[in-house]
């Protein structure tokens, strides 16, 4: 048993190699909503899963939310750049700077900060509301894995006049886990090239 004040050794947490992260990014980029639709039962279960996920995040149940993540999680928010249409460079590339480019261990570190009681800017707490919509789910070549596209609104408010509303689109690979799912891949597309708020302290 570890002593009460021991720091978690995040190096032992589930992680990806650079090559694995790169492959995961390429997989996400290839997910264009071209598979066969899932049946209504699966779609309902995915909706239920997303609603629960949003509620956990709204209520700062970070440890519970963390359990929804697969050990091989790749969690990615690439940068947006204003480019001319004639520009041949792909806007998203695994080697580009990003706003999130994470494996499960990195998420654990972020939760470590949020639950440390030392993040002064989260005390008093920030209030969040997530709205998830436009859910489309598709079969993949792997049974029990689903490609899911959705949109979200994340509203946050803290202190008195401090708020931000972020809209975006998510691209997930969900994996069946008992009667629910695990998030194995997530790509978050914010439409802002200049982030019109001071930071991203929460999850998407």
């Amino acid at each position: 048993m570890s002593p009460p004040n021991a720091k978690p050794d995040y190096a032992t947490y589930p992680s990806l190699t650079s090559a694995q992260a790169r492959d995961a990014a390429i997989q996400l980029l290839s997910m264009g909503g071209e598979g066969r639709d899932v049946d209504n039962d699966v779609l309902r279960r995915i909706e239920r899963f997303y609603n629960r996920e949003a509620r956990l995040l709204d209520n700062e149940c970070h440890e519970e939310w963390y359990k929804l993540l697969a050990d091989d999680l790749f969690y990615w928010m690439p940068l947006r750049e204003n480019r001319f249409r004639r520009d041949k460079r792909p806007e998203y590339a695994p080697e580009n700077m990003a706003l999130f480019d994470e494996c499960k261990a990195d998420i654990a570190v972020r939760i470590g900060r949020l639950t440390s009681k030392l993040a002064w800017t989260e005390d008093p707490p920030t209030r969040h509301v997530y709205v998830v919509s436009n859910i489309e789910a598709f079969l993949t070549p792997i049974e029990g894995e689903f490609e899911v596209h959705s949109t979200f609104i994340q509203y946050r408010n803290r202190s008195e006049h401090d708020d931000a509303t972020l809209f975006g689109r998510r691209r997930d690979l969900l994996r069946v886990n008992e009667d629910a799912f695990l998030i194995a891949r997530r790509m978050i597309e914010l439409p802002q090239s200049v982030l019109l708020t001071k930071n991203l302290t929460a999850f998407f």
Partner: protein
């Protein structure tokens, strides 16, 4: 409203009138006298490597295009002289010319006016000369990959502007043959509702805040202060011409808080080579607990290697653009680790940066109160950390926990604000022979 900037700053004991953080008249004079006269960072040469490649950015509130022409890098206003419209709307790209959307005036890679629809209308206009109507060009000079520009014809050279600060800049810009580059994919950009000087003075000399502000970002994961020692033993502040760098001799103190053992292993493996290149003193600065600002608004952090501009957007708003700088010769895997490491610490989603914005925003907005804005702020910390080491370039004080650099920053700011022209601005004398090896 009139004011004398020197009366708003007491740079001897160290107090600052809060008016400089909210007053619109002061802000407008800053645009003219501070930003309008300074060499401002615009790009890294690696961003515009081929002829025709460009990036767009800002010099304070002036939008500019940085373009690689046949004769080198050009910087010119991103505003058409015809009706004023923005000319280029892409952040980066490649092309042969820049064409205004409004009437189709087209400009070359050096900003000169090349053509427009129905040119005959102008050919028959008395007194109209194509060469009078190009995009307004700035002076452009580089230091070891970093490109600076100014529209001020009277400003001294970039070499004089940076002065002895160059000797320190080499600790991040010249650690090996082959130079440096910015990692690909553009800048992380974000906005804060704060006056630009709060982040700029913070990077110039405020490691003090890290001991408290960043506890949440470091202590849960890496032990208190990221397991890194921050005190006034073996640590310094240096100021040259208002540029400021606070640092210690820990070599990898900042880098350690990224928490990537492979990255640290690699950086340690470089110490001997960097030492033989730069000498022990500067080699120990490469990734140490440190922060720096090149006056007025270009800042960086050794170890995380985030380089950023704090562009003013009115007295109450700042836009941050940040890039990650690496030696070109660094192995790809290590570059990738630094990409992720700088993102996870110092980007809008970074565990350390996310605690800063809140402080700077509320330091700014509190000044809405009339009583509040009339109370001066304290920049007085000046602990006795012993004598400054001798023989180092610039104005050096012992001990990185100090407000010394910030007092120098505001002294420079006040001098530029009160000066009618460059004739009455005095730069520090450059003493160090940069070709001297240690």
């Amino acid at each position: 409203m009139s004011f004398i900037a020197a009366e708003l700053i007491d740079s001897t004991f160290g107090t600052v009138d809060r008016r400089i953080f909210w007053d619109l008249d002061i802000y407008n004079l800053e645009l003219e006298r501070v930003f309008g006269r300074s060499w401002l960072f615009v790009a890294h040469e690696s961003q515009v490597q081929e002829v025709g490649s460009f990036v767009t950015t800002y010099m304070a509130e002036d939008a500019v295009i940085v373009s690689r022409g046949a004769d080198g890098i050009n910087v010119f206003l991103n505003s058409c002289p015809h009706r004023g419209n923005r000319v280029c709307f892409a952040d980066s790209g490649q092309g042969r010319q820049f064409t205004c959307n409004y009437h189709g005036w087209a400009f070359g890679l050096d900003g000169t006016l090349k053509k427009m629809p129905k040119m005959g209308l102008y050919k028959s206009t008395p007194g109209f000369r194509m060469e009078d109507w190009g995009l307004k060009c700035a002076r452009v000079e580089s230091y070891k990959g970093l490109v600076f520009a100014t529209f001020c014809q009277e400003a001294p050279s970039l070499a004089d502007w940076l002065g002895d600060f160059r000797w320190y800049l080499d600790a991040v810009l010249d650690v090996e043959e082959g130079g440096t580059e910015f990692l690909p994919g553009g800048a992380t950009r974000s906005v804060m509702k704060c006056n630009w000087k709060f982040p700029a003075d913070n990077f110039a000399g405020d490691i003090y805040h890290a001991l408290w502000t960043h506890l949440g970002g470091s202590e849960p994961t890496l032990g208190r202060h990221g397991g890194v020692k921050v005190d006034n033993e073996g640590s310094y502040q240096v100021s040259v011409n208002g540029h400021g760098w606070e640092f210690n001799d820990s070599f990898l103190g900042n880098a350690a808080t990224i928490g990537d053992r492979e990255l640290l292993r690699y950086m340690r493996s470089r110490e001997a080579a960097i030492t033989s290149r730069l000498g022990k003193f500067r080699a120990r600065m490469w990734g140490s607990v440190a922060s720096a600002t090149v006056f007025p608004n270009f800042s960086f952090l050794p170890g995380y290697f985030t380089f950023r501009t704090f562009q003013p957007k009115g007295p109450l708003h700042t836009e941050i653009s940040a890039w990650t700088l690496v030696p070109k010769g660094m192995p790809d895997d290590i570059k990738d680790r630094l990409r992720r490491g700088s993102m996870r610490t110092f980007s809008p989603s970074g565990l350390l940066e996310m605690d800063d914005g809140e402080n700077w925003e509320h330091s700014t907005t509190a000044n809405a109160g009339w009583v509040t804005r009339n109370q001066r702020l304290c920049y007085a910390m000046a602990p006795d950390a012993g004598p400054a080491p001798e023989g180092l370039p610039g104005t050096v004080t012992a001990g990185q926990l100090s407000d010394a650099n910030q007092r120098h920053f505001y002294r420079r700011w006040a001098e530029m604000m009160d000066a009618d022209s460059w004739d009455s601005i005095t730069l520090d004398r450059t003493r160090h022979n940069l070709s001297d090896a240690e």
